[in-house]
Symmetry: C3
Subunit: 268 residues, 3 copies
C-alpha cells in the first residue's frame, strides 16, 4: 500500500476546476485541451508575448512545451515563467526533443534557469537536460526511465523542483523522495502528444496541491490508470486515443487508489 | 411550430458546397475543417497577411477567430474582413476569451469596428465585447446565455449584424428578432473547439442565405441536433467527438425540421 | 499481377522505423504524426529556421507542405530542402492549394526549383504546379487524376523526380514509368489532411527505398488498403478517421500484396 491518497488529489482538482495556461506545441494543442477538459480542468492556450504574462497570472498553473518552438515563442515562455514565479504559480517544463538541436538545448537551459516546479520529459530528454544524454533521436526516447534515474535526482536537486521521467515505467523525484509508477499501455507511445498532454495534467494537479511531488505522482498515476482502461477497448492507436479521453473523463477516485501501481522510495 | 425552414437551409448549403475561409486558432483548425467537410462545405485555412485577402475573395464566407491570436494574425484578420466587406461576402467574428487580456480586448474592438455579419461567442464573450462583462475566466463562460440577452440585442443593434450567444441554450438576435435554440448535449462543452467549429458552420450557412438571422438559427439548430444524436452513443467526450462528426455528416433535413427546438420572439 | 513487392517495402520501413521530419501545415500536424506513428515511423515536426537544417540532417526523409504557409515558413522549407539535398536525403513536396494565391504559386515554384524527390498533390495542384491548371477552388481538387496525367509526366521529366497525383484513383510517374492505384474509400476526402498525412507516409517509405517510384507506389497502395479497411467499419468521417489509424497500425504485408490494385505502364 502506497502512502499517497491519489483519490483525494483527483477529487480536489475536479472540485477546483483549475485554469491551466499552456504554451505548447502545435501538434499537441488540441489533444492537451481535450485531455484537460475530460479531466475536469479548464485549459487556456495562448502564446503571444503581448498576453502570456496576463494569462499566467489568471491561471492556477502554467505549462511550457518546446515541441514546435521558435525564438519568439521561447521569449514568450520566459515571460510566462517569470509571471508564474512572481505570482507563486506552479509551472511545468516539457523539454521536447531538447537534445536534438542547438535551438532546443538553448531553450531548455534558459527555461531550466527559471526554476520550473516540475520538469516532465522522457528519459532521453531528462538525460539531455542534465547534460548527460545522447540527445535521443528526434522526439522519441532512446533511453529507459531507469537509465535516467541518477540524472533525474541530480536535476531535481540542482533545480529545486520535481523531475518526472515518463516511459514504460514512470519515475518521479524531488531529489529526496522517489516514486515509480507502473501501468499504462503499450499503445500510449503510438499516440502523438499524449506525453505533452500529460504535462498539462501535471499542471492541473499542481494547481490545487501543496506537495508538488505528490501532485506529480497523482497525475502520472491517473494517466497510467486511464491508459490501462483505454487499452482494454482499443484495436489500435486510433481507437485507443478515443477510449483514453473517455477513460480520463470517467476516472473514478476509488478505483484509482485501488488500481494504481505506485512505489515510494528514498532517493539514492 | 417555428417558422424557419431549417431543412431548406441545410439542403441549399450542401448543394452549393461553399468555400469557407477561416483564420482560426491553432487548437481549432483540425476540428473546424473536419466539421465543415462532414457538413458538406469546403474549408480553407490560411492566415498569412500576404494571401488572406485573395482567399477571402474566393470564399463564400469568412470566419475570424482570436483564440490563439498574435498581433500579426490580427492584422491579417482585418485584411480578410475588409476584403470580405468589399466583395459583399458575409463574415463571422468569434471573439474567444475577448475579455481575458488587453490584446484580446483590443483585437475584439478592432474587428467589431469592421461590422461582422455575425458575432458568435459564449455569454462571457458577448458581455465583454459589449463592455458589460466580467471577462469570463480564461476561455470558458462564467455567465449564461440569458445573462447576455440584453447585451446581445444591444450589440446587434450597434453593429448592424447578428449576434449569437451559445451555451446550454443558444440565443440569436439581429436586434429586432430573437431566437432561442435548445438541444445539444452536456458533453459538448467538454470537447475543445466545438464552439469555434460552430462559427465555421455559421459561415457555411451564411454563404448561401439571404437572411443572416435565419442562416445563423439554422446553423445553431443543426449543431444542436448533431449534438443530441452524438450524445445517444457517447461514453465520454472522446467517443462524443467521433459520433458528433458522424452525426453532422448524416444530418437529415427532415429530421432536423422535426427535432429542432427553436423558438422565435420579437427582441425586447 | 503487379511487379512491385509492396509487402517488402512495408516490412523494411517498419524495421527501420525511419525518422521523418515534417514542416507541414497547422491543420495536418496532429493527424500526420499519428498516421506516421501508427505506420511504424517516427515523426518530428519542427519549423523554426534556426533548426530545420539540423532536423533534416537527422532524418531519413523530409516532407514540406505549404498548407498554412507564411513567408518565414517558406524560407525554413527552402533551408530544409537544401540540407536534405546536401545530405542525400529524399524529400517530398506537398503543394497544397498551390494555384490559389500568388504567395502559393511563388512558394511552389521556389520549392520545385530545389528538385523534390517526390511531389504529391491532388490533380488541381499538379496541374497548377505544371502551369497548366485552373488553380482549383481553394484546397479541394476540381480536376481528376486522369486530367493531370500528361502534366504529371511532364512535371516528373522536368523536375527529375517522381510525381504522385492522388484522388479517386492515384497516379504515380517518374516520367518513364506510370502506375495507377485504385482502392481507398469515398469518405477519405471528407477527413481533413489525410492527403497531407499521406505525404508523410511517402516520406517514410522513401527513407528506406532505393527506387523512389516504387516507394511512392507502395506508400499509396498501403494508404488505399488502410482506407478500404477503415471504410468497412465507418459510419461517417468521424469513425472513419479512427478506424483508419487503426487500419494503418494493423496493415498486414501479405494482405497488402494480395489486395492492392496497382497497375503499371510505360509513361506515354
Amino acid at each position: 500500500m502506497h502512502s499517497i491518497d491519489l483519490a483525494s488529489h483527483l477529487r480536489r482538482m475536479r472540485q477546483a476546476r483549475p485554469l491551466v495556461h499552456n504554451i505548447t506545441n502545435h501538434v499537441a494543442m488540441n489533444t492537451m485541451a481535450n485531455v484537460l477538459l475530460a479531466l475536469g480542468a479548464s485549459p487556456a492556450m495562448a502564446h503571444a508575448r503581448e498576453e502570456v504574462a496576463e494569462f499566467a497570472r489568471l491561471a492556477g498553473a502554467v505549462t511550457l512545451n518546446i515541441g514546435t518552438l521558435s525564438p519568439h515563442w521561447v521569449d514568450a515562455m520566459e515571460d510566462a515563467a517569470r509571471a508564474a514565479n512572481e505570482a507563486g504559480t506552479p509551472w511545468v517544463l516539457d523539454p521536447v526533443a531538447v537534445g536534438a538541436t542547438a535551438l532546443r538545448r538553448d531553450a531548455g537551459q534558459r527555461l531550466l534557469a527559471l526554476s520550473p516546479t516540475v520538469i516532465r520529459g522522457n528519459a532521453s530528454e531528462i538525460l539531455s537536460l542534465a547534460n548527460q544524454g545522447s540527445g535521443g533521436r528526434g522526439v522519441d526516447s532512446t533511453d529507459t526511465s531507469d537509465d535516467a534515474e541518477s540524472a533525474a535526482v541530480m536535476l531535481a536537486q540542482r533545480s529545486g523542483g520535481v523531475v518526472a521521467v515518463t516511459g514504460e515505467t514512470d519515475l518521479v523525484t524531488d531529489g529526496r523522495r522517489l516514486a515509480r509508477i507502473a501501468g499504462g499501455h503499450a499503445l500510449m507511445p503510438l499516440v502523438t502528444t499524449l506525453g505533452c498532454a500529460l504535462s498539462g495534467v501535471v499542471g492541473a494537479y499542481l494547481a490545487v496541491a501543496e506537495d508538488s511531488f505528490e501532485a506529480c505522482v497523482a497525475a502520472l498515476a491517473s494517466y497510467a490508470e486511464a491508459g490501462r482502461l483505454a487499452g482494454e477497448e482499443a484495436q489500435g492507436p486510433g481507437s485507443f486515443s478515443v477510449a483514453f479521453i473517455d477513460a480520463v473523463y470517467r476516472l473514478d477516485p476509488e478505483t484509482l487508489n485501488r488500481q494504481a501501481r505506485v512505489e515510494l522510495y528514498d532517493a539514492p
